[in-house]
């Protein structure tokens, strides 16, 4: 099972994402922002960092990079896509996920381990969890405040597309304490916290994050 991990100029967490894919049992495939080639992957991870220095808006320029044409087309065909942190911002800017990520309320960069509740196990990336399960993963972002208009928030809640929620009050002021959302078909998921940093208790606060990567392998295998 080939899982692509995209590197943009300024991406930081592609190495950890590749490691997470490998430890989950998948074959990681490095993808480059300037290419129009997904190299035959079965799923995609858009990792965190500060693509293009976060110039203009976080994720705004990366969302218009050449490879994103292929990512959008693949997502339209139903390929699972996971956006983590800056990757979540990129998927929102690219129109694959609703809403936007703005400067944290309080203006502080937040870097800490925290508890998330998995609100939906019905996505390509959360099938290894039970709805309501709590996991511990790190959050490290300055522009992680999830916002969307009132109608979109109602729709996300009604359709079960809020995938992750901060258990304690959102440290960045996210509306509805939302930490992650999914596309209507549950194949595209974005979240601000970093599951790829929590795949081994030796190097992270837990191994809870590995569940996203094992889940997508199972989802692709059963497709």
């Amino acid at each position: 099972m080939r899982v692509g991990v995209i590197t943009f100029p300024g991406t930081l967490d592609d190495v950890d994402a590749v490691r997470a894919v490998r430890i989950a049992g998948g074959e990681p495939v490095h993808l480059w922002h300037a290419d129009h080639d997904l190299r035959g992957v079965d799923a995609l991870v858009v990792p965190g960092g500060f693509s293009y220095g976060d110039y203009l808006r976080a994720g705004a320029i990366a969302a218009r990079a050449p490879i994103m044409d292929e990512v959008v087309a693949a997502a339209d065909r139903g390929m699972p896509v996971l956006g983590i942190c800056n990757g979540f911002q990129i998927l929102c800017e690219a129109g694959l996920l609703p809403g936007a990520l703005t400067r944290n309320a309080g203006l502080h960069f937040v870097c800490r381990d925290l508890r998330l509740r998995v609100e939906s196990a019905a996505t390509a990336w959360t099938g290894s969890f039970a709805a309501g399960q709590e996991i511990v993963v790190p959050l490290k972002s300055g522009e992680g405040r999830y916002v969307a208009d009132a109608a979109t928030l109602v729709q996300l809640e009604r359709e079960g597309r809020v995938v992750f929620r901060y258990v304690d009050a959102a440290p960045n002021g996210s509306m509805g304490d939302i930490a992650g959302v999914a596309s209507a078909n549950g194949r595209v998921v974005g979240l601000m916290p970093h599951p790829e940093h929590a795949i081994d208790p030796l190097t992270g606060p837990s191994a809870d994050g590995l569940g996203l990567f094992t889940a997508v392998l199972a989802a692709v295998a059963s497709a």
């Binding site: 203009l56 808006r57 705004a60 218009r64 929102c92 800017e93 609703p98 809403g99 936007a100 703005t102 400067r103 944290n104 309320a105 309080g106 203006l107 405040r145 916002v147 969307a148 208009d149 002021g173």
Partner: protein
């Protein structure tokens, strides 16, 4: 500019600084962005609006307008 309903913590920080400097009467500050583009005469308003709405601004969280100098 951030839409009215979008929290603008940067603007709030500026408002707080003005208050500390003793400036009276400033009730709110909203912080936005301003772009100046040098364009050929052939670039029409439709193109400028497309640039503004598709790249320079994020219509999910920002209002924008285009003016010619």
């Amino acid at each position: 500019m951030p839409k009215p309903e979008i929290l603008d913590p940067q603007g709030q920080a500026v408002a707080g600084a003005l208050h500390r400097l003793g400036v009276a009467g400033v009730t709110e500050v909203r912080q936005g962005k301003h772009f100046e583009l040098e364009v050929d005469d052939a670039v029409d308003d439709d193109t400028l609006h497309r640039i503004a709405g598709s790249l320079l601004a994020n219509p999910v969280i920002e209002d924008w307008r285009v003016t010619r100098a």
